[in-house]
Subunit: 288 residues, 2 copies
Amino acid sequence: MKTLTDRLYVRVAEVGNVCLGLDTDISYLPIDMQRRHSRPSDAVLTFNKAIIDATLDVTAVYKVQIAYYEALGLPGLDAYAKTLAYLRKKGAIVIADVKRGDIAKTAEMYAKAHFTGDFEADFITVNPYMGMDTLAPFYPYLEENDKGIFALAATSNPGACEIGGIKSADGESVCEKIAGMLAKENAAFPGENGYGRIGAVVGCTDKNGLAKMRALMPDIFFLIPGYGAQGGTAEDIRGCLKDGNGGVVNSSRGILLAWQKPENSGLSFDEAARAEVLRMREDIRSAV
Amino acid sequence: MKTLTDRLYVRVAEVGNVCLGLDTDISYLPIDMQRRHSRPSDAVLTFNKAIIDATLDVTAVYKVQIAYYEALGLPGLDAYAKTLAYLRKKGAIVIADVKRGDIAKTAEMYAKAHFTGDFEADFITVNPYMGMDTLAPFYPYLEENDKGIFALAATSNPGACEIGGIKSADGESVCEKIAGMLAKENAAFPGENGYGRIGAVVGCTDKNGLAKMRALMPDIFFLIPGYGAQGGTAEDIRGCLKDGNGGVVNSSRGILLAWQKPENSGLSFDEAARAEVLRMREDIRSAV
């Protein structure tokens, strides 16, 4: 059976590895656009739709970071729901970047919240720190609703190694232990193209770590943050893709704020976003 | 200066250690109450208000688990916001159990989301797995807005030790390492009663672990889940309180579903909730 992850694989083969992060802060919008709307959340939604329209044919997947919408309160979450709905209407694959993680009964609620109803997405990101039993409530949705998860394995922030990098007595780090656990869990959800329904978030700010992560999780699709603004390069990513597939590389600010770059002067914000997606796609293609 | 944590300390001294968890699932409501409302979220809000009214003078703090409201979509989050507002209007101290954790820029958004605006709470729970730099964006709010956080240290679920229990080369577990890091962070935010503005979530399903956690975090206020339905007892909690203070013990289903217990037949759901809070308070008092 073709799974959601298979569809993502095919999409990457067709249009490249770019994951466009809609971490839309109101300050990222051109000032006239901010002023044209009485509510920030309306401006954000208008901005998102224009970005989506301009990039749909060259973007593998969109990642919507819920924190930026929660920060605007109820109207923000309305804009979040409408952004997800717009993406789904357009046929795009959507990752809800929510990083939820809690005890089983609560995780059941998070699964219902983000795999059905107002906030329905295709994939969601989850935090596995509390143990693999906290991932289990998401599993029924993987097959029954054709959904997927990306679990945090190694993140891209400066302090990622503070806990993830703790070495256990047997020499493996916490991140590596989690990678091993995810590989085991994922074996129950195979796909046609070699990647299962459980993906992993693996930051590209640690090149050596990235190759190690790939070795530990050969059948796991990667969501790779840290490119661009956070310092990761296409070169860093090379070691964790297989024939250029098996992972998507996220950029948020780099794309949303492309209109502010001197080389894009004369382009509208959405044209500049498209130009940046194309540049990034080529950057990754030429490196891998 | 008296901090929020000092206020919580005084409240515990006055009314006991009960943290009432409003993890309100629609199925927890008496059937006639479910039927009386056309939207589940309205029924949940009505139920919450009645529970709050019946328990306000005997409850130290309320913990609202956002997952149950997210699961009801936008109307659910409206009920969440209204529950928080109702608690604040009544003068209660409120913990938003959101367990957010993300890279700094995103954590800034979560801080804004849950310390201001529609979803404003006093304390929020955070997941520190991604490193201490992901907690830093919450700090400006601690002093400027008199807020607090409870960071996950050792949770109460069956798989809590899968990652948290990994032993590092020096013999300390990941949970213990995190405890040490939190103790260090908390030193920057002291209070008058010996506990700082950074609290820790420490489950009571592992009695020995709990005493160890207290030893590692002597100046940290504990939010203790796992009592009752999850198997933890008042006896288990004893080792981590100091003169009966320094921690609150959460119960959610045990209180919300007290009306279904044979010993509470004849009581309304809110009267039963109050009876259970009183029973639990005495159970803890007599053990510590």
